[in-house]
Symmetry: C2
Subunit: 151 residues, 2 copies
């Protein structure tokens, strides 16, 4: 899940503009994002933060998450209704996930085959700067119909 950024492009040094100042809010947001398993919306994260007694503005959450995604520390995707979701990205390695529509849990996928396929596609079609998004979701075993029948 999540847009795979141009991994070929090393690191645009000219993009550097602000040295990123470390603040209480930013720390809280990054921490909360890491704690979260799976994707969260800015609004949900804001609510959660507030609930935990962290006084913080919604605007700040939006800006911090955007910065995180911009720096490559978070994957983003769109929900069906257009809401933007964020997810902490452990390494800089691009990954895909399978997640449950019911409970939101997610698990990383071994997508070597897909990646190869996309690479071949690029060579075959001659398209440059190929990017790909793969989203897979379903109902996990825990949430599935079988589990409810067990009781």
């Amino acid at each position: 899940v999540g847009r795979a950024p141009d991994e070929e492009t090393p690191h645009d040094a000219t993009r550097e503009s602000a040295p990123q100042r470390r603040t209480r809010q930013r720390a809280s947001i990054q921490h909360a994002l890491i704690e979260q398993e799976g994707f969260v919306s800015a609004q949900a994260l804001h609510t959660s933060l507030r609930a935990n007694g962290v006084h913080i503005g919604l605007t700040t959450v939006y800006r911090a998450l955007a910065a995180l995604a911009d720096a490559g520390h978070a994957d983003t995707m769109r929900e069906d209704n257009g809401v933007r979701l964020f997810r902490h990205r452990p390494g800089s390695q691009h990954r895909h996930y399978l997640f449950c529509r019911e409970c939101g849990s997610s698990e990383p996928l071994e997508t070597g085959i897909l990646e190869e396929w996309f690479e071949r596609l690029g060579r075959r079609t001659g398209y440059a700067e190929l990017r790909h998004t793969v989203e897979v979701d379903g109902i996990c075993v825990t949430c599935g119909p079988d589990s409810s029948r067990a009781g």
Copy 2:
């Protein structure tokens, strides 16, 4: 590109509610969508329709496109900025496309391998009602850097 609906689920007959009345507007919208190669936003389609002298409300375009997508006659996806895009789907067969970020042109992909992979994934993980979205884009040969260097 586009969300692949549950192809396993045959057709929920209980979903039927309105017999779908054929009107001038609906015909125009469906026609315009078919004419369009690739994805269009509701707003763009509305503008185009108006430009061609078709008096029609933006609301109607939204509703008609939603109905089309609901009926399985159109694929939908979200742009990076959250705008919803629609694309005519020829058959009921679900497909994926590679499209150019520059000119918007798209071409269908032979994704048999991917489909197989997704099927295996479902069996392996035990997830039910698996859905997948695959979006691939890049810069096509025509729009690429080589073409501009030719002059």
